[in-house]
């Protein structure tokens, strides 16, 4: 077991070093986290970062701002998380194409798989890397903002939104991996990944189908809609219930798992 763990750790370090220098990944993660935290705070304070410095001299004005700041609650998660959903639909397919199809294209993967590295392990490690790179800072940023201004009570709603975001990110990642190993071209994989998820997002938002089906391609919007109390849908039932939310998250996750297993299976047979 120790030997296996040592080897997987070595593969992970090697993969990370070979793919891109570590400071780049760190910088990207930190930037994302800060971005989410700032967007939550800015939404809660009517963009008080843009208020002139003189406002801070006025004690009444400062009190008003502070009052707004402490009223950060679940609703404040809506816009940043929705924005992150859109960002993920673009960023994750591009990252996957860059990390899987790119090395397939330029021969890096041929060199890597000449070492004692298992294809399955390599793909899983790449998946973990991308999930950590995208989801961890976003979740971290959101949680830090909530905890800082709202205390340690994060709430079931916020947790479920974050879970739905992770689920969606994983499903986008799985499908992008599959597209990457099928196309073996970073440009084709990135473009088709973004196109597929944009289409699914639009279907989820505007198609005349039951709300639970609409939530499957994008459980984040459904969850936000349910807890935020704003309608989500078109003609059919527009007010989702908790069951709809849970079903959409579970089905989305299952699709992600099946697609990920398919991409591993296909990757094992890919000619490099």
């Amino acid at each position: 077991m120790n030997e296996r763990f040592r080897r997987i750790r070595a593969v992970f370090e090697f993969e990370l070093d070979l793919s891109f220098p570590f400071p780049v990944a760190e910088a990207l993660s930190i930037a994302l986290g800060v971005f989410v935290a700032m967007s939550i705070v800015m939404e809660s304070t009517n963009f008080w970062f843009l208020v002139s410095p003189s406002a801070f001299a006025n004690s009444l004005e400062l009190e008003r701002i502070m009052y707004q700041v402490i009223h950060v609650d679940f609703h404040l998660l809506s816009l940043p998380l929705f924005s992150m959903t859109i960002l993920s639909i673009i960023a994750i397919p591009m990252l996957c194409a860059f990390r899987v199809a790119g090395p397939l294209e330029n021969g890096v993967l041929r060199a890597m798989l000449s070492y004692p590295i298992k294809r399955r392990e390599l793909l899983i490690l790449k998946g973990i890397e991308i999930m950590v790179l995208i989801c961890l800072p976003i979740t971290g940023g959101a949680l830090v903002a909530i905890v800082l201004f709202n205390g340690l009570i994060v709430g079931f709603e916020s947790l479920l939104v974050i879970i739905s975001f992770w689920t969606l990110a994983f499903t986008i990642l799985s499908s992008s991996f599959l597209l990457s190993v099928i196309t073996k071209s970073s440009a084709k994989a990135a473009f088709s990944g973004i196109a597929v998820w944009t289409a699914l997002l639009l279907v989820g938002m505007f198609a005349k189908i039951p709300v639970v089906l609409r939530g499957i391609p994008n459980p984040v919007i459904l969850t936000l809609s349910f807890f935020g109390g704003f309608p989500f849908g078109n003609q059919y039932n527009t007010d989702p219930v908790l069951n709809d939310v849970l079903v959409s998250i579970i089905v989305n996750l299952l699709i992600g798992i099946i697609t990920f297993l398919a991409s591993i299976r296909y990757f094992k047979r890919v000619e490099i």
Binding site: R7, L18, G107, R110, S114, P116, I272
Partner: protein, 322 residues
């Protein structure tokens, strides 16, 4: 290296000679669409240094990719160190080292860090410092790979192929981009590693003079088939036996005279004072005497006639017959 370790490595390497071949390929086929890359290829490699030779597109790299488990075969069987390439690819890669042609390395890493990272992928590994010393890169240990010259990168490639204490090493064009001195050093290093540690090498190269120097066995492949295989000396003797190099005062004139000679299969001008001839009959002495007499009668001075014996000549001869 300590004597005990040296003996252990030798025994470990020679074990495969007793068990069978280090590499054995039979009836191996691979098609890419309509292109036939390997056509029922047969090949055997014993413990030692083996040279794989063939023109561009002969199927050498495809064969290497199959042996590494990077692509699947369409038919036939291939075994490396007694293990099937389709079933035991991971185990094979734990016990071999590879240098690809035009390899890509992370430009932002230092030489030392890269070798260290690669070494951790293996269960048994060499000391990175000792390895860099062996390939002459110890002074560049702290340099980034992106700042290395083409020759230094090639040496780094050889180092990473040897880092996991492999039993068999595949080297695809190991001396490309190296100057004469570096080539000689690298070949000496390969010979040393083979002799001291019992590591087998399969070298794919177009520089046949180098292969002739280091390889105990060679195989020529063309259009996905093995044409000739055997010990280097046997192959050279078999396919260079009717070729002679003649030093003359006017090779062009003698070439023209020999064009219609029934005993001369082929004549070629190779320099300002040299030419080669391939003889048709086995009575070489009589034919050479006839050529010498013909030259003298035309006022051409013949300085020297000697049998051409090299792997390159043998390869050219085999390709001509193909």
């Amino acid at each position: 290296m300590p004597i005990v370790a040296s003996v252990w490595f030798r025994v470990r390497g020679e074990q495969h000679l007793n068990d069978g071949n280090v590499l054995s390929v039979s009836n191996l086929s691979k098609n890419f669409g309509k292109i036939v890359a390997l056509d029922k290829l047969d090949l055997r490699m014993d413990h030692g240094i083996f040279g794989l030779i063939g023109p561009n597109g002969a199927g050498k790299t495809t064969l290497l990719r199959i042996l590494l488990g990077l692509i699947r075969t369409d038919g036939g069987q291939a075994k490396v160190l007694g293990m099937d390439v389709n079933q035991d690819s991971f185990e094979i890669r734990r016990r071999i080292g590879v240098l690809h042609e035009n390899p890509i390395y992370p430009a932002s890493l230092t030489v030392g860090r890269f070798i260290d990272r690669v070494s951790k992928l293996y269960q048994t590994r060499r000391d990175p410092g000792e390895l860099l010393e062996l390939v002459g890169l110890i002074d560049a240990k702290e340099r980034k790979i992106g700042a290395l010259s083409a020759g230094m990168r090639q040496r780094l490639g050889v180092a990473q192929a040897l880092v996991g204490k492999p039993e068999l090493v595949f080297l695809d064009e190991p001396t490309s981009n190296l100057d004469v001195m570096a080539r000689r050093d690298l070949l000496n290093a390969i010979l040393n590693v083979h002799e001291e540690e019992g590591v087998s090498f399969c070298i794919i190269s177009h520089v046949l003079s180098e292969l002739e120097r280091v390889c105990s066995d060679v195989a020529f492949i063309n259009a996905g088939k093995t044409i000739v295989a055997g010990s280097t000396n046997e192959v050279i003797n078999q396919f260079s036996s009717n070729r002679y190099t003649i030093n003359v005062s006017d090779p062009r004139m003698l070439h023209d005279e020999l064009l219609n000679n029934a005993n001369v299969e082929r004549a070629e001008v190779t320099g300002t004072k040299t030419m080669t001839v391939s003889l048709r009959s086995d009575d070489h002495g009589a034919i050479l005497a006839e050529i010498e007499q013909l030259a003298r009668s035309k006022g051409i001075k013949v300085f020297e006639i000697e049998r051409t014996k090299s792997l390159e000549e043998a390869f050219l001869e085999v390709m001509r017959r193909e």
